[in-house]
């Protein structure tokens, strides 16, 4: 199987392209996604290829076009509204949480809502408190939604294609920094990645590091450094929060005895809290140390670079957490 190197953004674009070609019911919505090609270039060229009927520039009306997308999904098409900065998703909350997520259930199964909402996440670009947040945890908390958080071009393409065939509402979170900074091999042949399957990005014996999105790369870098100290870290990427592959996470921690969970969302009541609870229960008798969480500091994300970087998980903080997990646990 032959592969080529694509950036994260290119992989996403390729998924959209292929699915637009495959299914005429798929329509993209978003601000500046058409003629401009998307502020992050993720829809570049698609407007030219598929025309204004399939790639639609919307007014600045997140609630409006996401709400419209719910109706479009309920009447037989598969809309893909984009939220340019994940922070703006708050404007569309009612349509996502009270309408999209619940329509099937409230109608007793009469209707399906195949809508794929693409939103961005992640800070680190001095974009300030209202343009840097990562809200995947919120939607994992809503019954009726599915939440996908890919970390590599390979994962992004396979998962997005699956989302575009999924008959349920999907929140698909894309990290902004990764768009052009992360490259990876992507097969030429068609492939899909199912939801609910975690990926072991690096095998190890001494500690389990669970990470999402861009933090997967930070965790892998930390694992490299830890290897110099003779510590073998296993890095696992859940890839989807709903559905969650609990078994892979639990099995790994049963093997290593210790877990460090890394996420760019805020720490309190966030993704790391849920994963820690899942592991505490599933791997209880095999835990040799308390579970560590490394997440964004519980402060609004600052603008000034040294301040901003102080709030986002980095290699050093992950390594410190691993050291805490391993303290006194190995024969000297």
């Amino acid at each position: 199987m032959s592969t080529r190197e694509l950036t994260f953004a290119q992989a996403i674009r390729e998924a959209l392209d292929e699915e637009l070609a495959r299914d005429e019911k798929i329509v993209l919505f978003g601000e500046d996604i058409g003629a401009w090609g998307g502020v992050f270039r993720t829809t570049e060229g698609l407007y030219e290829k598929y025309g204004p009927e399939r790639v639609i520039d919307t007014p600045l009306s997140e609630e409006g076009y996401v709400g419209m997308a719910v109706g479009i999904a309920m009447t037989g098409m598969h809309p893909v509204p984009e939220i340019m900065f994940g922070d703006f998703i708050t404007l569309a909350m009612d349509q996502i949480v009270n309408q999209a997520a619940k329509m099937r259930y409230m109608t007793g199964g009469q209707v399906a809502v195949p809508i794929t909402i693409r939103a961005t996440m992640g800070g680190g670009r001095s974009s300030g408190a209202q343009h840097s947040q990562s809200w995947h945890a919120w939607f994992a908390h809503v019954p009726g939604l599915k939440v996908v958080v890919p970390s590599t071009p390979y994962d992004a393409k396979g998962l997005l294609k699956s989302a575009l065939r999924e008959p349920n509402p999907v929140l698909f979170f894309e990290d902004k920094v990764m768009y052009h900074k992360i490259k990876g091999p992507v097969p030429e042949e068609e492939y899909l990645i199912p939801f609910g399957v975690a990926d072991i990005k690096r095998e190890g014996r001494d500690v389990t590091i669970i990470a999402l999105s861009r933090m997967v790369h930070t965790a892998l870098a930390a694992a490299e450094q830890l290897a110099q100290e003779g510590i073998s870290a296993e890095v696992i990427d859940p890839r989807t929060l709903t559905p969650l592959d609990e078994d892979t996470l639990i099995q790994s921690v049963c093997k290593t005895g210790g877990a460090v969970i890394v996420d760019e969302g805020y720490q309190r009541f966030g993704v790391t809290a849920e994963l820690a609870a899942v592991i505490a229960r599933g791997a209880f008798d095999y835990l040799d140390a308390p579970i560590e969480r490394v997440a964004a500091m519980d402060v609004p994300i600052p603008f000034s670079p040294p301040l901003e970087f102080a709030t986002i998980p980095d290699e050093a903080r992950i390594i410190q957490a691993v050291h805490r997990v391993l303290e006194g646990r190995r024969p000297q």
């Binding site: 005895g257 209880f284 008798d285 095999y286 835990l287 040799d288 140390a289 006194g328 024969p331």
Partner: protein, 454 residues
């Protein structure tokens, strides 16, 4: 439960190191049927295969609880065997190692509340391993943060464990847990299970007795001039029997030697602070004595041997018993492989064992298989004393207090700290010469600690 018609618990046995539960297949006897010890009684399925489990005593299958197809944890009660006859006093369960009778009251207070056993801090993984490997967490030193016991500590401890105790001192796991929960000293418990093993009911009865002991046994009569008879507890009776047996059977002889403690005192002084700050332990003279005695014994292995009709039983593992004085009496917990422990570790273990002894939380494992005993009454102002041998050991070292005394050196009278060692020995195993050579070398080491490095 009727004490004169004891029932023996039939429990799910542990058939392998990692077995935690087994699936019950079927009973091979019916209720009311007579069962002989060693006869197959029921079948279970483990990971590996279907296994027949035999009865551990003669009796009648009186009650069955286990159902075919159900899974039960190791130690779970599957049914009862009623044993013929009443209690047999000769089948006392445990061999306490103390050389003086313990007081009859195990608990200092007579209140109905029982203390929650203080659990050592250990990770869930460590606890699981401890269960599986049969390691007592109270014996394990933790290397994790704040002294938390972690998995590899348990693994290490498991590797140095002696073989399980012989069947006559068996305590069922259920009984052990219950005793820990109720704060019952297992040495106060009369075992009624097969081979004198202690069952859950035994622990319950002991607990009831403990509670009942708050009331006087009989009101004193003002006209009573004959003294009040307090019936012996099983442990008291056993102690009396064993001491009598030891004293009458083992021909004791005694050697005494004075020790110039100047260098020892200086050594302790120099180590006191560093050990405190680096290891968090408070170094005592007993610790030092343990250190040197333990390292010397392998050079005089006969001091660790024991008399038996068939011949001398030789031991190489230096399990040193340390007499601990508590409110409840004299206990002798054992430091295992004491010759392999560093001074800090000795101090830590000794303090740990002494504390648990004072709290009445020693378990059989804590005082089994000692081969030599050290007893120090110096803190109680005793200058010298001859201890009775701790059966079946062949030697016991009694230590008196350190006191400034006049002595002659270079024909000068000077004052120096001194103390007296008194070694009691079993003349069936040791003669004067062998005992003397041990004692004199020990004195040399104590007077000149660096010699121990040679």
């Amino acid at each position: 439960m009727n004490a004169t018609q004891p029932n023996s618990e039939i429990v799910m046995p542990r058939m392998g190191l990692t077995m935690e539960s087994g699936r019950f297949i079927k009973w091979l006897k019916q209720v009311g049927e007579t069962v002989r010890s060693g006869e197959p009684l029921f079948e279970i399925e483990t990971d590996k295969s279907v296994v027949e489990v035999e009865a551990l005593a003669d009796g009648i299958l009186s009650q069955i609880l286990a159902q075919p197809g159900e899974t039960y944890a190791v130690g779970a009660v599957l049914g009862y065997l009623s044993l013929p006859g009443g209690t047999s006093p000769a089948q006392a369960a445990i061999q306490p190692e103390s050389s003086t009778p313990a007081k009859s009251q195990a608990q200092p207070s007579g209140t109905a509340s029982f203390a929650t056993p203080a659990k050592p801090k250990a990770s869930p993984a460590a606890r699981r391993l401890a269960r599986q490997l049969g390691v007592d967490l109270a014996q394990v030193v933790g290397s994790g943060p704040q002294g938390r016991i972690v998995a590899w500590n348990v693994q290490t401890a498991a590797q140095s464990l002696p073989l399980p105790a012989p069947a006559s001192t068996r305590v069922s796991p259920v009984a052990q847990r219950l005793a820990a929960d109720l704060g019952v000293d297992l040495r106060q418990v009369q075992g009624s299970g097969p081979g004198g093993s202690i069952t859950r009911q035994d622990v319950e009865i002991a607990y009831q007795r403990q509670q009942a002991k708050t009331e006087p046994l009989s009101p004193p009569s003002p006209l009573d001039t004959e003294g009040i008879v307090e019936p012996l507890s099983p442990v008291q009776r056993r102690m009396a029997e064993r001491m009598t047996q030891s004293f009458s059977n083992a021909p004791h002889f005694y050697l005494q030697a004075e020790v110039d403690a100047r260098n020892l005192v200086a050594l302790r002084q120099s180590l006191l602070q560093p050990l405190e700050s680096r290891y968090g332990v408070h170094l005592t003279f007993t610790d030092l004595l343990i250190y040197f005695t333990a390292r010397l014994l392998p050079r005089h292995p006969l001091l660790m041997a024991q008399w038996s009709e068939k011949g001398l039983v030789k031991f190489t593992q230096v399990n040193l018993g340390i007499a601990v004085d508590t409110e409840q009496g004299l206990f002798v917990p054992v430091l295992r492989e004491a010759d392999k422990l560093g001074l800090a570790e000795i101090s830590r273990q000794r303090a740990n064992l002494a504390e648990r002894a004072r709290q009445g939380k020693l378990l059989p494992r804590d005082y089994e298989q000692g081969v030599f005993t050290l007893t120090n009454l110096g803190a109680l102002r005793i200058d010298v004393f001859q201890a009775i041998l701790n059966p079946p050991q062949a030697a016991i070292l009694a230590v008196g207090r350190i006191k400034e005394r006049p002595m002659v050196e270079n024909q000068q009278v000077i004052s120096a700290p001194m103390f007296t060692l008194s070694l009691s020995a079993d003349h069936r195993v040791l003669d004067g010469g062998k005992a003397a050579r041990f004692l004199s070398e020990l004195v040399e080491w104590l007077e000149n600690p660096a010699l121990s490095m040679a």
